[in-house]
């Protein structure tokens, strides 16, 4: 515990659903604060809920921690509490050293002022003294890559340039703990690579980094361990690859909000993927669809796999592949697709469809209805892992 630089002990935070009640509670709490009465912040009043409960973790010098979770799980709230903008309702946060937060890059930039003037102002807001700024000014400008625009009012900057300038200032403050909240998503690829390099440089010099992102490859690159938080659940702490798997599984359960169409006589009752809804990368993938038929009917069937964003990775149909028309007999039956699994770890979804004999309309269509999670954590940069080898000279 001695060399821990950031210690979070049993921290909880509550919020209020109703604006009116929230104001009322605010007045109550503030009056109690001013009069020095105890607020009893560990109790819930009506309309209040715990944004997250009982969170504990610690961070050593130079260590990094990824924070993963769906929207609204309290990641930003956690950062606001770590930076001292909000106070926890229960528990205790201890920070030994200075803290820098990249929560909103470029907050406090004045549009009429030039980049140069804004660097000085923003750096002072983040706690730098004039001498330090003078000393690091060239470095900041150089890192942002905005030399030729530095004397232009920032209102004429593009949004990417804006973020680059803000990020450059923030990383040059060199805090003991740095909070990074999804800011690397902006900026072009070149700047992103530069930022990642800067972060690892900071870590080598003893800065601990907390990173919030929905881009798993970023978390994977930066953080060894991660925290998975979800509303209404206890936070999980573990290795980054385990937590990424966990996130993928959780996100997959929310995919099936898409169109589902069935005819009266033919229904797909169940779709099994490898008997479980999970598969390890590099093995055989079996997608088995069971149907229930009331009256004999002829048709074709197809199965497709989609990426998380809905793009179709592959779509195989019996009619397109020259198979004969299939007759669905009365009663129940199944068809299955067996393929070599070349998918990279991630969340995918499966569609199942049946077309009539003349290929005019769908009899059954379950579009992106079935989640498919390929676990394995590492290497989450693409969809397909093709057999390959390297050559060099």
């Amino acid at each position: 515990m001695e060399d821990d630089i950031l210690i979070v002990e049993n921290v909880s935070k509550k919020f209020c659903r109703s604006l009116k009640r929230s104001m009322l509670y605010g007045i109550q709490d503030i009056s109690k604060d001013i009069l020095g009465l105890s607020v009893n912040s560990n109790l819930l009043r009506s309309d209040e809920f715990w944004a997250f409960e009982d969170l504990s973790f610690s961070l050593k010098k130079g260590e990094s921690l990824g924070i993963i979770g769906p929207n609204g799980s309290g990641k930003s709230t956690l950062f606001k509490m770590l930076s001292g903008i909000m106070l926890p309702d229960k528990g205790k946060i201890t920070i030994k050293g200075s803290l820098g937060a990249l929560i909103e890059v470029g907050a406090g930039f004045h549009p009429l002022l030039s980049g140069r003037e804004n660097i000085y102002i923003n750096a002072s807001i983040l706690g730098m003294k004039k001498k330090e700024i003078d000393h690091k000014f060239d470095e900041i400008v150089d890192f942002s890559g905005l030399e030729e625009f530095i004397d232009m009012p920032v209102k004429n900057y593009s949004s990417g340039m804006y973020v680059r300038l803000g990020f450059s200032v923030a990383v040059h403050v060199v805090p003991d703990v740095l909070l990074v909240d999804e800011v690397l998503a902006v900026g072009d690829a070149k700047f992103r690579a530069k930022s990642l390099k800067k972060m690892s440089e900071l870590m080598q010099n003893g800065t601990s980094i907390l990173l919030v992102s929905h881009h798993m490859h970023l978390i994977d690159k930066v953080a060894d361990n991660s925290l998975y938080i979800e509303r209404g659940c206890k936070a999980l702490y573990g290795s980054t690859s385990d937590m990424i798997d966990r996130y993928h599984q959780c996100s997959a359960s929310g995919v099936n909000d898409n169109s589902k169409f069935e005819s009266d006589n033919l229904k797909v009752t169940q779709v099994l993927i490898n008997e479980k809804k999970q598969s390890d990368s590099g093995k055989q993938l079996i997608i088995r669809a069971e149907y229930q038929c009331k009256k004999e009917i002829k048709g074709f069937f197809g199965i497709a796999i989609h990426a998380e964003n809905g793009d179709t990775i592959m779509n195989y149909r019996t009619d397109c592949e020259g198979h004969k028309v299939y007759s669905f007999k009365q009663g129940s039956g199944f068809f299955k697709l067996i393929l070599e699994n070349l998918l990279e770890p991630g969340i995918y979804s499966v569609s199942v469809s049946i077309f009539d004999e003349n290929n005019l309309g769908s009899l059954v269509q379950h579009l992106r209805e079935y989640p498919l999670v390929i676990s394995g954590g590492k290497n989450v940069y693409g969809y397909i892992n093709m057999p390959h080898y390297w050559e060099s000279s």
Binding site: F15, S22, M23, G26, D29, I30, D33, I34, G36, S38, V39, S41, N42, K80, M81, S83, G84, I85, M86, L87, P88, D89, K90, G91, K92, I93, T94, I95, K96, G97, S98, L99, A101, I103, E104, A107, G108, H110, L112, L113, E117, Y120, I121, S124, I125, L126, G127, K129, K130
Partner: protein, 280 residues
């Protein structure tokens, strides 16, 4: 190596005792660089997109005084006898009033104008409120230029007591800052305050002996007795003209009051900030 250890708990802000004041002072003192930089920013940005620039700081006041001088010289209103020539009396008093009112308005809106800075970055937010004072003081100094010109025109020589005026003005600012601290946090959640302040200040201008001399007859003299701003204003007028300070007791009372209001405002601001940010 010196390490600053920060601990955040639910009751971090409500710890009693003198150490809290010490910490609050340290925090404010530590942000003096930032305050100075933000003051410079505000002043340099203020009139950047304008041709007349700083003239706008003095124009409203010159127009008001010109109008009232015209009305009083044509006996539309009987302004009564002022200790100094009327134009000087009105220009000076209006400047002091403007100093107070722009300070208060500036402080009240300071947090709202700062936008996401308040909710996203942790730094001593007191700095933002204090910065609003800088702009007002700067404008006040500019407004002294036409006043000096008018004094030269009238051949009016201020008394040596004038040197004590900054002392009184300090407490005028302290009063505005104390009230401004509280108004600024309320404005973050309730925008009504900003509008209300504007209206009250408009009335306040006419309820203080600015465009007329301090009334001595009942019931009008009650305005002096119960308007908390009057003793401070009259003191500056007396100091400028070299008169004896008439309402000395009231002046000391107001000075004490402004110190108390300032300290209370600051403390309340400090305590409530985290709770307000949650709801802003």
């Amino acid at each position: 190596m010196k390490k600053n250890i920060k601990v955040y708990t639910p009751d971090a802000m409500t710890n009693k005792g003198l150490s809290v004041w010490y910490n609050m002072f340290l925090e404010l003192w530590g942000s003096r660089d930032l305050i100075w930089r933000l003051i410079q920013r505000d002043i340099s940005v203020r009139y950047r997109q304008s041709v007349l620039g700083y003239v706008w700081a003095v124009l409203p006041q010159i127009a008001t005084v010109a109008l009232f001088t015209y009305l009083s010289s044509h006996r539309v209103f009987d302004m009564g006898q002022t200790q100094m020539p009327y134009v000087i009396h009105a220009l000076w008093s209006l400047s002091v009033w403007q100093l107070f009112s722009t300070c208060l308005i500036g402080c009240t809106n300071s947090l709202v104008n700062a936008g996401t800075l308040v909710t996203k970055i942790n730094f001593p937010k007191e700095a933002l409120v204090v910065v609003a004072i800088g702009q007002s003081v700067f404008d006040f100094l500019i407004r002294l230029i036409p006043l000096v010109v008018v004094m030269l025109w009238y051949g009016f020589l201020p008394s040596w007591n004038t040197l004590l005026i900054p002392f009184v003005l300090f407490f005028v600012i302290l009063l505005a800052l104390g009230v401004g601290f509280i108004f600024s946090i309320i404005t973050l959640v309730l925008r009504d305050v900003g509008n209300a302040v504007n209206i009250v200040l408009t009335f306040g201008m006419f309820l203080s002996p600015i465009l007329y001399p301090p009334p001595v007859r009942e019931p009008f003299s009650l305005i002096n007795t119960y308007n908390p701003f009057s003793p401070l204003l009259i003191a500056t007028q007396d100091l400028l003209s070299g008169n004896v300070l008439l309402y000395l007791n009231a002046l000391w009372l107001m000075i004490a009051l402004s110190v108390v209001v300032f300290l209370m405002g600051w403390r309340i601001f400090h305590i409530t900030m985290p709770r307000i940010v949650e709801r802003a």
